[in-house]
Point group: C2
Chain length 405, copies 2
Amino acid sequence: MSAAPSSCVDLGWHMGAPSLAIDPDALSPARMRARFSGMRATGPTVNVWRGPGPASTLPYALRDDIDALAFVPLGAAAPMRWDASLAANHTDGIVVLHRGRIVYEHFDGPLQPHRPHVCMSVTKSLVGTLAAAEMVAGRIDPDAPVPVYVPELGASAWAEATVRQVMDMTTALHYDEDYGRADAEVWTYLRAAAQLPGMPAPAGSPVGVRDFLRTVRASGAHGEGFAYKTVNTEVLGWILCKVTGLPLERLVEERLWTPMGAEQDAFFVVDPRGHAGAGGAFSGALRDMARFGETMRCDGFFNGRQVVPEAAVADIRLGASPAHFARAGYALLPGWSYRHMWWMTHNAHGAYCARGIHGQNLYIDPKAEMVIARFASHPKAASANTDPTTLPAYQALAQHLLACP
Amino acid sequence: MSAAPSSCVDLGWHMGAPSLAIDPDALSPARMRARFSGMRATGPTVNVWRGPGPASTLPYALRDDIDALAFVPLGAAAPMRWDASLAANHTDGIVVLHRGRIVYEHFDGPLQPHRPHVCMSVTKSLVGTLAAAEMVAGRIDPDAPVPVYVPELGASAWAEATVRQVMDMTTALHYDEDYGRADAEVWTYLRAAAQLPGMPAPAGSPVGVRDFLRTVRASGAHGEGFAYKTVNTEVLGWILCKVTGLPLERLVEERLWTPMGAEQDAFFVVDPRGHAGAGGAFSGALRDMARFGETMRCDGFFNGRQVVPEAAVADIRLGASPAHFARAGYALLPGWSYRHMWWMTHNAHGAYCARGIHGQNLYIDPKAEMVIARFASHPKAASANTDPTTLPAYQALAQHLLACP
């Protein structure tokens, strides 16, 4: 999620263990694309059940005026058409809801409507939403230090960090997520999570994400600036499990996927100790991601029930400090902030989004009554590679829907 | 499936890779039970989609006269009650259909109605049914030698074997499935399938089941006797993939699970090359196994459509040679035969069944209009451990349903 292109694709960190060692073609873009729509085949997973009933209704009201919509990509001079952008940014699937109805839908490559696609760090926003719900219910105190909930982290970087600092990623960690540095701590994290095929953890190194978290040390004072570090979400996931007594996959199942009437089962990739990865391991079907986005747009109310507490959505929409955010140096995201694991645009529409590497997006525009769920397989990881042809396209579409409802 | 208790549990062959190496408790009966209801967490899998529509109806007509039903376990003197048998043989779940209605249902331990359980060699009967359907459609010639469909096996044990010999397991293979022998070929097979955690394949040994199949050599003349060897089903699965151009998980999805209106997604564990294990790697929900059994009982017609060709079911019900079967020495299964990967009782009811180690059963009694689907986690693998308290119980229940319909 840094502005610099990441080398993680070349290093194959998101690749499952089985195929990489025996298949020299496993890192090709085509294979990566297939893998993103089939993460169950890469390693151990835990299921998220869609529930017993019929799927909630997402009525169709397809529009034929979207493909020709023009926007100017960030940093470009010439406009681009919406339909051309889909190939340009390696879209696997995109669905647009306007006032709860599907106005646009497109699938490409191996992705099909019923097939879950990896969400990468969009996962974080699911976790942040679950945590916000616990917070407004009074079961998580945002001002409490992390060890109140997870004593196992009492000697770690999070010993003095508050839950809110974790949720807003303003912790100061001696932890480098720059995939370009061979000795960055992210590699130890990914090895502990068994996400580096052919690169098992050396003897004596942490096994499982939680063991790794205990080894992370602080670096400076918490609360002074935004620094996007996936391990914060792993900590938040652990807090949630402690507070609720449920594993993360059950939380998503019981509190989001089943009540919102998902049409497909979803799943998490798990680490060697069987824990669902809170930072980026979720795969769901595209329309179900749209359902979740619509739930957020409707203040948590969807499928005839209050799926997410209204106060939790309101708390997310408050946003956080753009000044804190600015220190992270995201040139393409001026004036944004990061709140409860959501990216807040602070634009005139109050838009906010969930974002994952290689182009995963869940974009909510309250004023335009628009939700966009998008899966992609951009060969390069960093969102900076897809932002130029997605963010202005989303904003142009929002304007269009406002002007021509 | 041999009469002797197998040591495969102690050797952990059905255990997924992640947990065993780091968890000394991974082989405990409780953990095995949890694992059987959560095989996705053990390694790479491929999904079998239930389809887009509502699940087919399985109406309830529960009876209260079954728990007290008495039967005499094989080799025992004293009778046992039906309900007592469930604990005795480590039942995780059992559902009984009579004339298509659920007359009995019981879940225990971690198994829930929506959660797929490993089917072990019940998988074989799914594969055999799909092959029988191809056979009656004229796309597989049962008298053709295997290499007509899989040229890759032209130098293997199956070079001279016919498809029928594969389907009825009358091939003569230099392949020992006795888990008690450390140098039995089954270990090479399981290592190639990556089903032996902590025991990777040595350098130069086969990777993936298909590579292993090419190394199996013949031992004697095919067609002279029944010998239960799982590799035959792997060959049959490969033939099916060649003939249809589809991977096994798509075949089960498109030809069985979706048309019969399954209520849950199912899945296969896959080998290092991503191939679904035809011999025992399928997991499905209990009621969906019952739906499949009911499909067979109704001559392939279920959910308002001909799911399996009527002629395929009829061909399976012909049975095979009890004389061939007798040579395998199953003391508890006198007069039985093995046909198209189904176990035929040749009893007065024409009952036949699918059977998997640790107590997995799908039992179809046409005369009693009864189908029993059963999942279990017996600590010992061989069916000889569960047959004494299951087979006579099923027969007693069939008699009871005939007498008191």
